[in-house]
Assembly symmetry: C2
Homo-oligomer: 190 residues x 2
Amino acid sequence: MRDGTATKNKINRVAMELFAEKGVTETTTKDIAAGAGIAEGTIYRHYKSKDELVKKLFLSLYEEQGNYLHEIASADKDSKQKIADMIVNFCQLFAEDKALFTFLLLTQHGQLKEVPDDMVTPVVVLRDLIAQGQDDGTIKQGDPDLMAAMVLGVVVQPAVFHVYGRLTQDYKSFTQDLTEAAWSIVGLDE
Amino acid sequence: MRDGTATKNKINRVAMELFAEKGVTETTTKDIAAGAGIAEGTIYRHYKSKDELVKKLFLSLYEEQGNYLHEIASADKDSKQKIADMIVNFCQLFAEDKALFTFLLLTQHGQLKEVPDDMVTPVVVLRDLIAQGQDDGTIKQGDPDLMAAMVLGVVVQPAVFHVYGRLTQDYKSFTQDLTEAAWSIVGLDE
DNA sequence: TAGTATAGTGAGTGCTTAATCACAATAGAT
DNA sequence: ATCTATTGTGATTAAGCACTCACTATACTA
């Protein structure tokens, strides 16, 4: 084997899962190597440092998710449907890959501080979506940043509690409730 | 000086601020000692270990806040007013002592995992408040745990973004918006 | 004043960590 | 078959960490 991408993917996956489970600082390079079934030194054939691994992993995964979000936001639907689609997307991601979802949440937990300003994060997409909806009159007035934060909170907080075992039923079954709650924050009275 | 409470208070305050700012693992005993202007060894005259410091600090501060919450929840008011009071209380705490508020949030960030089940946390108080309101018909039906998580998300998420500089205006000025958003989730149509 | 318990000190200890490096294995190129 | 570049190894290293301990300083007691 001359191509090391399989090993690198293994490192990425294991690292992501451990970071999500224990946090970045609590996860050692030894843990990652053991989980991936490789020697500790091999990590350093693919990454200059643990810090680089963390940052590249975060950036690549976030970019991937950002693309999905961008697709949803630029679809030819009304604002209400787009916000609903975003929430469905969150719930699906959480249901399908809890480790990935939790890892992405680490940004909001201060474990990953250096988030580029121009990065496509959920809150940025949501804010633009809300501002756009305000222009065409489908979403009520208010500070788009604050409204985006509140909508995100409605979805994220149950997910956080779900991770820590407070909410035990299937997260996907919340989707309808989360969507309605989100809409009640930004939506117009009907 | 034979009484060391002044030193202990200094340790507690500095530790709380550093934990809130950098996280628990990233804060060293050396940092705390330097911040408090004492020797590293002095910390161990007051606490058996760093772990004990973290846990006692967390427990005492959370208990204090729990008492406020309990007061609010047991007041002779209707559910809507109680929820509003809780949110005002959050906003005030955040405005007055950002470090304390952020430190208390660490529990939701997985940095402090061992939270006793019977502890009076905001989500528990909220859940009971919601369940109670559902009984007397002032709050709409639905899973109280999920609803409490959503309401908390509306308040907490803006606070998180506020800490990381995304929302720059005075947090207290959100109070009205946060209260309305929270009520739109649990409240009955009027 | 002498005695004692408590509070504070900081160099030192042992352990864990991220990162290194000389070496080995592998597989395509010539 | 030999060469070469890449990938993988694991003992080793240097740094940083929580924690200790012999010692000093302080202030109350008798």
